[in-house]
Amino acid sequence: MTPLPATFRESLASAAVREGLADGVFTRLSSPIGRLLVVSGPDGICRISFEEEPEDVTLAEVALRLGPRIVASDAELASTRDALSGYLEGDAGDLRGIAVDLRLVSSPFRRTVLETLRREVGPGHTTAYGVLAASAGHPRAARAVGTAMARNPVPIVVPCHRVLPGSGGLGNYGGGPARKRALLELEGSLASPLSP
């Protein structure tokens, strides 16, 4: 049996997007920190997962929130792919040009924290859980900020890797400590003292 040609898949996905029949679009991206699954909803990127996370589970979760009409297309997400690839290969770009859709975050508190983080902590900078809690208007909620980071559905683009424990060290990371270190090294953040 002839496999479905890649050109057919791209053409189908583009037609689906053009006709408003896609609730979400995903793409798979090879990068120095492993293969990433990137999913875009109507308003921007809503999910990025690392290769250890089962893809079918991730897509099923996304489908529950966006709708089941999920299609795959590299072309439809070309600009996001380019920005992410460039960044992960060290072009020192800022991913804040990528639109993000936080609809997978059900808690308003966690959404606020993630929005604050993305807005205020740019590449080359880091912050601490307690500091981010204060910036988001909840100075006593450092632990809850930790949970917000752990459950960040859009790692890398919403830069939870830039949030470090006030007590020193790198702390936890959903994608594992090695990836957190790799991302911080990419941004040149590890050599410099942690900013408050």
Binding site: M1, T2, P3, L4, P5, F8, R9, S11, L12, A15, A16, E19, L21, A22, F26, D56, L59, A60, V62, A63, L64, G67, P68, R69, I70, V71, A72
Partner: protein, 155 residues
């Protein structure tokens, strides 16, 4: 009513796309198969959120592909009555349209069953796959359709 949890649509494309392309080739020939299958997937996408259950999705896609191929075939015939003969699997060379005229008064479901069995020349397992039913049910549908056709011809 319980909420229907449908799998992400693309998982169906990745799981069944290869065999559906083969099915479209059998129905429409190599030249048109990809166009037919793309249209079938787009039709399926339009209907997908309204499906009332998530059972038999593979059979459903076979059915949508079959219907799309026949619709394309019919509209081509309307547009270009003297155009090139359609793909051999849909209509053998000696086919002259008499069969379509004969089955035209029957319900659409009977027409589809008869085309799958006698024009497309599928065995009952093939008809079952295209209709999304069991082989026994496919045999029954075809034989019911043949009975209706006999009555129709005798009338």
């Amino acid at each position: 009513m319980a909420t229907v949890v449908l799998p992400p649509f693309w998982s169906l494309v990745e799981l069944h796309g290869d065999e559906l392309l083969a099915h479209a080739r059998r129905l429409a020939g190599d030249g048109d198969a990809e166009d037919i299958l793309q249209e079938a997937f787009l039709r399926a996408l339009r209907a997908y959120p309204r499906l009332r259950h998530a059972d038999h999705l593979r059979a459903w896609l076979y059915r949508v592909t079959t219907t799309t191929a026949y619709d394309a075939h019919r509209s081509r015939r309307r547009e270009r009555p003297t155009a090139k003969p359609p793909a051999v699997t849909v209509e053998p060379e000696h086919y002259d349209g008499a069969f379509e005229a004969l089955i035209e008064p029957l319900p659409e479901s009977a027409q589809v069953a008869l085309r799958l069995r006698f024009i497309e020349d599928l065995d009952y397992d093939g008809v079952a796959a295209a209709l999304g039913c069991s082989s026994v049910a496919a045999r029954q549908r075809v034989s019911t359709a043949v009975r209706s056709l006999r009555k129709q011809v005798a009338a």
